[in-house]
């Protein structure tokens, strides 16, 4: 495990912003940390980076206590937007960061290349577009070839093209075997990129599994005539108006059964819950 937390809790006064969160991120996976705004994602991530001290519970990052140099030097992060000096160029900002991480100029150039910012590296950070700023943030996170990349809402504020660019970048990193913890409230983004997902709501981790497991079994929708006869013929089916729902993957066998019984099959298609539906169900957000 790259990251583990055990009953990690952060309270401000009586309010538990993060409430006994126990999650785990495995090596080589893209872990989606999903939750509505204000659910506790950023606070959890800040605890993993040592910026915020937990009220109770424990966390280990790459086997080390969060916030220690041993842990931080193996982690690259981008939290709630990039934090850079506006008057410095992109390259100089990375040089400053490289000094702190103890890596040389070659790493700076490699990181700029990786996020496709070489052409704009000498421009002042304050003149960057939002997308360029986010990419520079990822470049800073990549300095020193970290074992774990923590990206908190990396597509926040980006236009659709910028979001697509960022998703491509994360996908490319994942393809290289990079472990990524990606926090987001954008379900499509998580569904597209992530191997496993942790869903946090009101400070509590309400689910942790693969996206597939989270969606649950695929249900087949069957439209047939007469529908009542089909309902009797197919064991375990449930009638929803003029259609049947059945948890069954062998659609061919089902159709054969119905046709042999002189039932007119009009439509058969898989009915999958989207991550969005699952998310709304779990978080109570509508």
């Amino acid at each position: 495990m790259i990251v583990t937390t055990e009953k990690l809790t952060k309270r401000y006064g009586d309010r538990a912003v993060v409430d006994e969160v126990s999650l785990s991120v495995r090596r080589g996976e893209v872990y989606g940390f999903l939750g509505p705004n204000g659910a506790g994602k950023t606070t959890t991530i800040r605890m993993l980076l040592g910026l915020v001290k937990p009220t109770s519970g424990t966390a280990r990052v790459l086997g080390e206590a969060p916030g220690t140099p041993k842990a931080l030097l193996k982690v690259g992060s981008l939290i709630e937007g990039p934090g850079f000096y506006p008057y410095l160029s992109g390259r100089d900002n990375l040089r400053v960061h490289a000094h702190r991480r103890g890596v040389g100029k070659t790493h700076v150039e490699a990181a700029l290349e990786q996020v496709d910012l070489v052409g704009a590296a000498n421009e002042k950070f304050r003149r960057y577009s939002l997308g360029m700023k986010q990419r520079l943030g990822v470049a800073a996170a990549l300095l020193g070839q970290p074992e774990l990349l923590i990206l908190d809402e990396p597509t926040n504020g980006l236009d659709p093209a910028g979001m697509a660019d960022m998703r491509d970048l994360v996908r490319a990193l994942a393809a290289q075997g990079q472990t990524v913890l990606l926090s987001s409230h954008l379900l499509g983004e998580v569904e597209e990129i992530c191997d496993r997902v942790g869903v946090i709501s009101n400070g509590k981790l309400v689910a942790e599994s693969t996206v597939e497991q989270l969606r649950g079994d695929t249900v087949l929708l069957i439209k047939a005539d007469p529908i009542e006869k089909a309902h009797v013929l197919i064991e375990g089916s449930s009638l929803h108006g003029d259609v049947l729902h059945v948890r069954e993957t062998d659609a061919g066998a089902l159709v054969r059964t119905l046709v042999h019984a002189d039932v007119d099959v009009q439509e058969v298609r898989p009915l999958r819950r989207t991550l969005e539906e699952v998310f709304f169900e779990m978080t109570g957000v509508a």
Binding site: L73, I79, R95, V96, H99
Partner: protein
Amino acid sequence: MGSVKAELLRLWKWPATWVLIGVWLVMSLTFGYLFNYLALNGGTNTRDLSQQQLISAMQPENVGAAVVRGLPMFGGAIILVLAALAIGSGYGWGTWKTTLTAGPRRISAMAGTLGALAIIVVILVTLTLVVNFGAAVTVASLEGWDWSLPGTVLFEQLAASLLVAAMWTGFGVFLGVVTKGPALAVGLGLMWAIVTENLLRGVGSLLGPVESLTKVLPGGSAGNLAGAVGGSGAPGVLNDLSGTTAALFLVGYVVFFLGAATLLKVRRDLV
């Protein structure tokens, strides 16, 4: 060492650093030499200073006094602003979170910032000395005075200048960390350095205990140290305490400001 390099790089390339240093150098030359020179050559009001005093203030051998006399109030205020901006701006820009997640321990990151600020302040004091010396030599040459190089007292005056500058730097750092932003830190700092202590000195003439207190406040201690090493003749310079006592108070303030700021930085959540 990496943290010092990082901070030095970003402070070196920060326009605010050079604007503030530039403003201070212009102020130092204007009030230390230009106005005195104009007063000497046809001025109608010489602020109760005799010609001999004006000449003495501009002599190259007294350049150390010229450097130290500006720092207790106006120079100190500029240094305080520089330090408060250097620390406080990081909260608004979000660079503290980048710094504190880069790898070094918080105490090392803070030491890096303080180390880089110390280097910038040493540069500021050195530039003040060089520019003032250049001005003094120019005036002496224009006036045809015989002049000589400063004596060993220069080292004492430079040490005092650095201690005063260190105190104001510490004050700015402290305010930047406490207020977690540049605006309030600069506002409070300037108000303290330029207004509050002067007001208290005014009240001190009515209330004895307040008068005693003003002598050992940050600006008062700085003024007394400047006065003790021969830097009299400028606003904020006092002659109420011995140099040693004033220096001890200043060391105490440096330790308190930097210690408290570092402790807060290390212990406080960054949200």
